[in-house]
Amino acid sequence: MRFEGKKAIVTGGSRGIGRACVVRLVREGAAVAVVYHQNRQAAEQLLAELSDARGSVCAIQADVRDYQRAAEIVDQLLQQWQRIDILVNSAGIIQDGLMGAMTPEQWRDVVETNLFGTYNYCRAVTQPMMMQRGGVIVNLSSTAAEFASRGQVNYAASKGGINGLTRALAKELAARNIRVNAVAPGMIETDMSQVVRGLAGDQIRNAIPLRRIGKPEEVAAVVAFLASDDAAYLTGQVIRVDGGLSLGGY
């Protein structure tokens, strides 16, 4: 029970990797607030699934692009919990398209959701975590930040931004005992990656040294490790969870 008594926020927590993070944290004893955007049904299913878990869970609807709303949610949770121990920034979208055809809306939606959303929640928890002299932030990046894919300039830029934010913020907050790390998943079985997997399934599998697509739970296990005291001496790192995809070579 690594998270007994811990209070956590997980954005994008109703589906995919965020959902797996919520399950892991709650099953290990945390009280988790799931921030979800549109899929109320998925959030309710998650709450029902975790009704007998050791920890507790609640769901809050919000668009992570809304700075003011992030501040309100954190204030509201602080009144209830008096502290925030863990923030997992998992809300993310893709809107792939080649640069020659990418609309400003596609660019803006992805960068605002993935990068600005991460900023909004990091910004909101910085003050309470500084005041309580401790906390952990885990941001969801992607191997796409460092390894190029056609049609993903917006997504790659947003995730590259998250890597930079993670390192700079880690340095800023280290003296206050706040750790900031990121996890960079490769190809994972989520709704978000299904189109790419559908188009190039075998090709992708063959490029992954472990010869299979990853599971959201396998990313959540690393997020949970980073969020726990097991990673007490680890900050400012971007950990790849990609079955070896980024190793390159032959």
Binding site: M130, M131, A175, R176
Partner: protein
């Protein structure tokens, strides 16, 4: 409404918590950077604690106007220009800038603010009783 002594006591408490210094080190003439070892992030921490202790809002940059010191309009060759000094005087009526004005090297600015300046700053934000 707090008295001046109560303001000082709360500020002392905020500085002890934010900077990890001993209570007897927090005297009115102590400088925040030189004597109490404050770094840039500590100013943010101190602001958070003052806001909570006095139930006030302190706009970022009001206690320590870093934006002036990083603005090329106000800084030349590592020194604050006359226009920059005028801006600092306007923004920091609670601080004693006389000594700094004699040789306004930007790097020395951090060592300007004292605990007494901070008390004056808070007193300008809250109503004081005698």
């Amino acid at each position: 409404m707090p008295t001046r002594e109560e303001v000082f006591a709360k500020i002392k408490n905020a500085l002890v918590e934010a900077l990890g210094v001993e209570e007897d080190e927090v005297v009115p003439e102590a400088t925040l950077v030189g004597d109490l070892g404050a770094e840039s992030i500590d100013f943010l921490d101190i602001v958070f604690r003052l806001e909570k202790a006095f139930d006030i809002k302190i706009p970022r940059g009001e206690l320590f106007p870093e934006d002036v010191l990083t603005n090329p309009q106000y800084v030349q060759d590592g020194k604050v220009t006359p226009a920059g000094l005028a801006e600092l005087r306007r923004r920091m009526p609670f601080a004693n800038l006389e000594k700094f004005e004699q040789n306004p090297v930007v790097q020395d600015f951090g060592n300007l603010l004292t605990v007494a300046d901070m008390c004056r700053f808070v007193e300008s934000k809250v109503e004081i009783t005698d």
